[in-house]
């Protein structure tokens, strides 16, 4: 009678994409890769220039390798954003864990140094959790503050360990730089990690509470949820994830510094947002964030290939993030 078929179809498509937000993102990722291949033929499909293999496992491996730490930090953002929070200390925490691990391992050995690194990270998370969950400081302010404090502590710490030198555990080097069948060894950490996060979000009581707190904290409280417990656990978990990402990144970059993983922070927020996570809470997907991290890496490669000056690259990077997010909101009708 009056159901215009086109309206119906577009509504249905919108709803389908809304329920499966990863699909348009993957399409966009493929589009970018095609653009890359057109700009520099043979980069991704070496067969066209006579090398073997249909796709360059080297290039794809490299893409994945550098997307992994970004995707792990994006997990911190997705989880905290679900509760309408954010973790701005994640980059610093990753750096702290990497630096502490590298400087402590000559003194105490590999195993204990990793433990110490993770505990240092978890400590920052605990402070974040207490601040935002119990004292109710806004997570943006809280994690910004603890991030700065942790940076300061790291500088003080550096003076004490300056003579001990650094050593990067061989295991982390293997994980960070090694390859198996052309794919980065980092996947041995990342695949179980990703399954764990996806399972946590969808099939665990804790995951359900994250969504509940972000949708309507009052309703969660009414249902008997003690939100401070959830938030403390969440920020500790987020910092442990950031620490793991930092350790992996250490093995990848191989030179510990006082700002090692810091530049990954804002891209991790961008990856989460591009991946369809709402900063207002209650909606988010880690699958989307993984694709978001891949998209950011491809864009980065694309801009490097264009041989643009650094300033222009950063500008275009920002513009593309805004454009992707706007397009995404349009397609799926969500914020």
């Amino acid at each position: 009678m009056k159901d215009t078929p086109t309206v119906q179809a577009s509504v249905r498509l919108g709803r389908y994409l809304r329920d499966n937000p990863v699909i348009p993102l993957i399409a966009f990722l493929l589009l970018l890769i095609v653009a890359l291949e057109i700009m520099k033929p043979g980069m991704i499909m070496p067969i066209r220039v006579g090398r073997n293999g249909i796709f360059s496992t080297f290039w794809i491996g490299n893409l994945i390798k550098f997307a992994i730490p970004l995707a792990m930090l994006a997990a911190c953002q997705v989880l905290t954003m679900l509760t309408s929070g954010i973790d701005l200390s994640a980059g610093v925490v990753a750096t702290v864990a990497a630096f502490v691990c590298a400087t402590a391992s000559p003194l105490v050995g590999v195993g204990p140094s990793i433990l110490i690194a993770l505990s240092a990270g978890a400590l920052v998370g605990l402070v974040n959790g207490i601040g935002s969950g119990i004292i109710r400081v806004h997570p943006l302010i809280m994690t910004l503050g603890t991030g700065l404090i942790a940076t300061g502590c790291l500088q003080v710490y550096q003076r004490f360990v300056i003579s001990t030198g650094t050593e990067i555990p061989g295991f982390l080097l293997w994980l960070g730089t090694g390859r198996t069948l052309g794919m980065p060894n980092g996947l041995f950490l990342f695949i179980p990690f990703a399954i764990g996060i996806l399972g946590l979000m969808r099939y665990s009581g804790f995951g359900r509470l994250l969504f509940a707190l972000g949708s309507n904290e009052h309703a969660a409280r009414l249902s008997g949820v003690r939100s401070w417990q959830v938030l403390v656990a969440l920020y500790v978990l987020s910092s442990i994830i950031a620490s793991l990402a930092g350790l992996l990144y250490l093995g990848m970059i191989r030179t510990p510094s006082l700002s090692l993983a810091n530049p990954l922070l804002l891209p991790s927020v961008a990856a989460a947002v591009i991946g369809g996570t709402s900063i207002f809470g209650g909606r988010g997907s880690f699958g989307g964030a993984i694709v978001g991290a891949l998209i950011l890496r491809v864009i980065d490669t694309l801009l490097t290939l264009l041989q643009m000056p650094q300033g222009a690259r950063i500008m275009i990077f920002g513009l593309i993030i805004l454009a992707v997010t706007a397009m995404y909101v349009r397609i799926t009708g969500q914020r």
Binding site: K2, G205, R208, A212, S215, N216, H218, L222, G224, V225
Partner: protein
């Protein structure tokens, strides 16, 4: 421009249709309002009333159909344009900006102060100061201010959506009087309410929606209620039938809940009563007599300043709703929006309490949950066609979800704060029936309602709170509206020995 226009309706909406994915909310809705006419828009839960209102006010665009105001297409699709063409809505939730003063809110909407003050005074709020901040004013006052603002902006058509829900009775009278005057002055009024008493008092005609379709337009005259209900439900029912038989008051000597001299700032002075298992105890009070504080204390949202709560004879106190839930006291708040995760599924909303405790943060117990959630959904007959997101459900179905949550969890003492506010007759009856059934199974139910007529339908006894104190306890069989009303105003009961 005069005679022809005059006989035409001010507002004429015809053949309106709207679908949300597979759910067809409206198929053929129509509404005509002439100058000086008050038309009641009626419809059961899920009949498509909210969607129709959203289309009339421009919040949604129809898939099909047109809305004319004074013969010209009202550019529906944007609330601002609907407003500009003269259709001014007033909703249950006042649309005033909380952090601004009354004056600033008027400035924002371009309303002139003089007529506004005149209307507000006429509506019965005399002590309003323009520099008062919105947050500092009680809800009932805000509703009046919102209405005053709408009246002052020269509406062609006023749309009043559940305006009198939870307004104190004296204000309701003023509101009805002023709305009538406004209509007599040539304004068209669309009046949405679930209260038949107001409709028969105020309205000229009623337009009834059922399953997305306008099924009848009636002239209001005595006895029309039965016919309206019949149209709304599609089958004849007895409107005033008592749900189930009164369960005899159990003789158990210890009450489930014993409240002793409870007080809390600012309204609750000194409340004591006993709630036995197997009974539904009504709470009657005018707006702001301390009932909100009472429910907040019992549900663990706040602490009393003095007094005690005994549960099965043992002293208890709750620092958090989780403590109250652990003791079997479960709360359904008056505002559905406070209780629901609007963007999450029906299942998740109902199953939320299962994951609340730290010990259940691990893997979800799917089978256990599904069984209980399904049972609760069936028990309450929740329409699950749009179960992906609770906000897509109709108001009545949303309310059922808030109750289903506790049914699934297993309830011992249910605290209901105005659970039937703004929902249709059929859903109300389902809720009465459910409450009676829970009581029969041994639960204790505390049932506050702002509609006095519900007390004899759902409760065994009722306490009446006035000025923060229990002023009377009335048996359901004596609880006529007059008796309750007198008591709610703190008047002595007539014919008692006192």
């Amino acid at each position: 421009m005069t005679n022809v226009q005059h006989s035409n309706p001010i507002l004429d909406a015809a053949s309106i249709a709207k679908s949300f994915g597979p759910v067809r909310a409206l198929t053929d809705a129509r509404l005509r309002v002439s100058a000086g006419e008050i038309v009641a828009l009626l419809g059961a839960n899920g009949a498509g009333k909210s969607t129709f209102v959203k289309i009339l006010t421009g919040a949604l665009s129809p898939d099909y159909g047109r809305v004319l105001i004074r013969g010209k297409p009202a550019n529906v699709g944007s609330p601002a344009k609907a407003r500009a063409s003269g259709l001014i809505p007033v909703y249950q939730e006042p649309s005033l900006i909380p952090d601004l003063s009354v004056f600033e809110n008027l400035r924002l909407s371009g309303t002139s102060v003089e007529p506004f003050l005149e209307f507000v005074t006429k509506l019965g709020i005399e002590d309003i100061r323009l520099e008062d901040e919105i947050t500092s004013l009680p809800l009932a006052t805000l509703r009046i201010l919102d209405l005053g603002r709408a009246l002052a902006s020269n509406p062609q058509v006023l749309l009043l959506d559940e305006l009198t829900a939870a307004l104190p009775t004296d204000l309701v009278e003023n509101v009805l009087k002023v709305v009538r005057e406004q209509a007599d002055a040539g304004c068209g009024v669309i009046y949405i309410s679930h209260r038949f008493s107001e409709i028969s008092l105020l309205c000229d005609r009623a337009s009834v929606l059922r399953d997305g379709q306008t099924v009848g337009e009636l002239v209001i005259k005595p006895g029309v209620e039965e016919h309206v209900v019949e149209l709304m439900l599609g089958a004849k029912i007895d409107l005033y039938q008592r749900e189930g038989l009164s369960s005899a008051l159990p003789n158990s000597s210890t009450p489930r809940l014993s409240i002793k001299s409870l007080s809390a700032e600012p309204k609750l002075e000194d409340v004591s009563f006993n709630l036995y298992s197997g009974e539904v105890l009504g709470v009657v009070a005018l707006e702001g007599q301390g009932q909100d504080e009472l429910f907040e204390i019992l549900s663990g949202f706040r602490r009393q300043t003095s007094g005690a709560i005994e549960l099965n004879g043992n002293l208890v106190s709750f620092a958090h709703p989780a403590d109250a839930i652990a003791k079997g006291l479960m709360f359904v708040p008056g505002d559905r929006a406070d209780a629901l995760l609007a963007e999450r599924s029906v299942h998740e909303n109902i199953a939320l309490p299962f994951s609340a405790a730290g010990s259940s943060w691990g893997p979800l117990k799917r089978r256990f949950e599904n069984e209980r959630v399904k049972h609760a959904i069936e028990k309450l007959q929740i329409d699950t066609r749009a179960q992906g997101e609770v906000r897509r459900l109709s108001g009545g179905n949303q309310q059922k979800v808030t109750i289903a949550r506790w049914l699934a969890k297993g309830v011992e003492t249910l605290l209901l704060l105005d659970p039937t506010r703004g929902i249709d007759v059929r859903t109300k009856r389902q809720i009465y029936r459910l409450v009676r059934e829970l009581a029969t199974q041994g639960a204790a139910v505390l049932f506050y309602t702002s509609e006095l007529g519900e007390i004899p339908l759902a409760c065994d006894r009722t306490i009446v709170i006035f000025n923060g104190r229990v002023v009377d306890i009335i048996d359901a069989k004596d609880a006529t509206e007059q008796v309750l009303m007198r008591a709610a105003y703190g008047l002595e009961r007539q014919g008692t020995e006192a």
